[in-house]
């Protein structure tokens, strides 16, 4: 029994690790989405957090437990700067602008050789215990849970549904969205650093458009109206390729895409849908 368990653990340990790392990214995407903003800039925060964090560890010999908060701080500061610029745009343009930012991120990563190692990449010879990663994710989840029940969380929901109505209720939409950006930046920076620790190697291709797309898909898949949806979505999205690989290795990606398509068509509000639960409960009660 324990042998069987150990085999399973050895085979899927890294999958679980990547699921947790992806959970940070999708939480970061969820953070802005919950205030009504579609932004792909998570990738940029992750790149900043990952590269700067790694350099802090390699050059300044900071311990990993100090590097992680530093990455979060870097991401948060960057997100604040991005928010100052992007919040002037309206929603469609914001989505385009954040996508442009992702493209620029890669160009910067390619050319800022002292920081990123350029085309050769950067190896990350750091050790981070698995349990610590799980603990970090749990801590982040607790923060999101507390936030969702706070004044900020309620205000963010109002801004998401209708900014005009929110501002007549005395909620400043711009300030709420700025906070959302900063939260997203902090979690994104953290995710970037944990990805570096998982991969043990960074290249300009590490933080690119595929993360942005898969993470937004993960959030919507899991349910974009609840923080747990982001985590569940990230897990499903990390597991899907692994399952597809086992079932039909030739058409792994096709299977992935088809699964995503079907889920979106039949469950457009995602797997975790608080409104759906409430509606069902209301329908049952006499």
């Amino acid at each position: 029994m324990s042998d069987w368990f150990q085999d399973l653990w050895a085979a899927y340990r890294s999958t679980l690790g990547f699921a947790m790392v992806n959970a940070f990214f999708s939480l970061s995407t969820y953070a802005v989405l919950s205030a009504g903003i579609l932004s792909f800039a998570t990738v940029t925060y992750a790149a900043a957090g990952g590269f700067i964090g790694t350099q802090l560890a390699l050059q300044a010999h900071l311990p990993v437990l100090l590097v992680l908060p530093a990455s979060a701080l870097v991401g948060a500061l960057l997100a604040f700067a991005v928010a100052l610029v992007f919040l002037r745009l309206d929603s469609h343009w914001m989505a385009l602008a954040s996508l442009a930012l992702v493209l620029i991120t890669r160009v910067v990563a390619l050319n800022a050789t002292p920081l990123t190692g350029g085309v050769n990449g950067l190896s990350v010879p750091l050790f981070f215990p698995f349990a610590a990663l799980a603990g970090l994710l749990a801590l982040t989840a607790v923060v999101f849970w507390r936030l969702s029940n706070s004044w900020y969380g309620i205000a963010a929901r109002a801004v998401r549904e209708d900014p005009a109505v929110a501002s007549t209720l005395g909620i400043p939409p711009r300030r709420i969205q700025t906070i959302a950006f900063v939260v997203s930046g902090a979690v994104g920076g953290l995710g970037g650093m944990t990805l570096a620790l998982m991969l043990q190697f960074l290249s300009p291709e590490t933080y690119f458009i595929n993360i942005a797309f898969t993470m937004i898909a993960a959030v919507v898949l899991g349910g974009s109206y609840h923080w747990a949806g982001a985590i569940l979505g990230a897990c499903v999205f990390t597991a899907l390729p692994v399952i597809a690989q086992a079932v039909l290795p030739e058409f792994e990606k096709v299977l992935n895409g088809v699964a995503l398509l079907l889920i979106m068509i039949f469950l457009p509000r995602g797997l975790i849908d608080p409104r759906g639960w409430k509606l069902r409960r209301a329908a049952k009660s006499p």
Partner: protein
């Protein structure tokens, strides 16, 4: 001097591909409200269709081009009806359609990769006009001339269609507000389908021309066009065909000139820096007007 002019033509030809692609991408974004991540795959598949038409059926080049364009259009319609139509009924908005477009992108990209046998194909030489055109001292490839001409025709035609024809008015109306448009007698379903066809056809045209001029028929063709075409849409403004065309050509010229006179490695950097600059200074693009939105 003649080097400069030749490079200018090179840039215009490259930019024409970006422009063609951007016109289709912007059309879908403005009319249907979809940020379509799968748009690049139409170009890849159109190039593959044209390649098959030449390689398997032995069709002459104009017909192969037609086959590619038709292929792109049909694919776009299929993606729209399978991926986007179910969401329209539910009002899933920008986000839902983005996700299904990502799904279609993943599927079509990996199928395209399998279709070309995981490698980059190139059109056999006698299958397309490979000569050079000489004007005085200046010479350029015939295909480059064809690209520029195609871009000009499509831009003028599309601009006329959208701004001055009755159907264009219907398209703009649907883009503005679908419910109001159908109240005033527009059939939104038909407008949506024709828009998807047109967008797929322009993207397909860019794909075929790009596949021939860059000697690369594979899924990477569409991805390259996607990134640059997207930049053109942002710089030019998605709701204006002229803007997308001008911005596309300008990006192509800038890219070629930057590679010639400044540095090859900064080629992409300059494009995206321009993109960011535009977003900061003029977020609604070159021809972008003032937005009126419901508070």
């Amino acid at each position: 001097m003649s080097l400069f002019i030749e490079q200018l033509i090179n840039g215009c030809a490259l930019g024409s591909l970006y422009a063609l692609f951007a016109i289709g991408f912007g059309l879908v974004f403005a009319t249907l409200g979809i940020l379509n991540a799968a748009h690049g795959t139409y170009a890849s598949w159109a190039a593959i269709a044209a390649y098959w038409a030449v390689d398997q059926l032995g069709l002459p080049f104009p017909f192969a081009m037609l086959a590619g364009v038709a292929g792109g259009a049909v694919l776009a319609l299929l993606v729209d009806q399978i991926g986007f139509q179910p969401l329209r009924a539910r009002n899933a908005g920008l986000l839902g359609a983005l996700i299904t477009s990502i799904a279609c992108w993943i599927v079509l990209d990996s199928l395209a990769d399998s279709a070309t046998g995981h490698q980059s194909l190139s059109f056999p030489l006698p299958a397309y006009p490979s000569g050079m055109i000489h004007i005085g001292e200046i010479q350029f490839a015939t295909m480059q001339g064809i690209s520029i001409a195609a871009m000009l025709v499509v831009t003028v035609g599309m601009h006329w269609l959208i701004r001055y024809s009755r159907f264009g008015a219907a398209m703009r109306a649907v883009g503005w507000n679908e419910a109001a448009a159908s109240l005033s007698g527009v059939n939104p379903r038909r407008v949506v389908m024709v828009t998807a066809l047109l967008a797929g056809a322009t993207s397909g045209l860019a794909g075929v021309l790009g596949g021939v001029t860059t000697q690369n028929v594979s899924y990477t063709l569409g991805e390259g066009l996607m990134l640059k075409g997207f930049a053109a849409v942002v710089v030019g403004g998605y709701d204006d065909v002229r803007g997308a065309a001008v911005a596309g050509v300008a990006l192509g010229v800038l890219e070629v000139m930057a590679a010639q006179y400044i540095s090859t490695s900064l080629r992409d950097g300059i494009t995206y820096a321009l993109l960011l600059g535009f977003l900061l200074v003029r977020p609604r693009g070159i021809f972008g007007g003032v937005a009126f939105t419901r508070a």
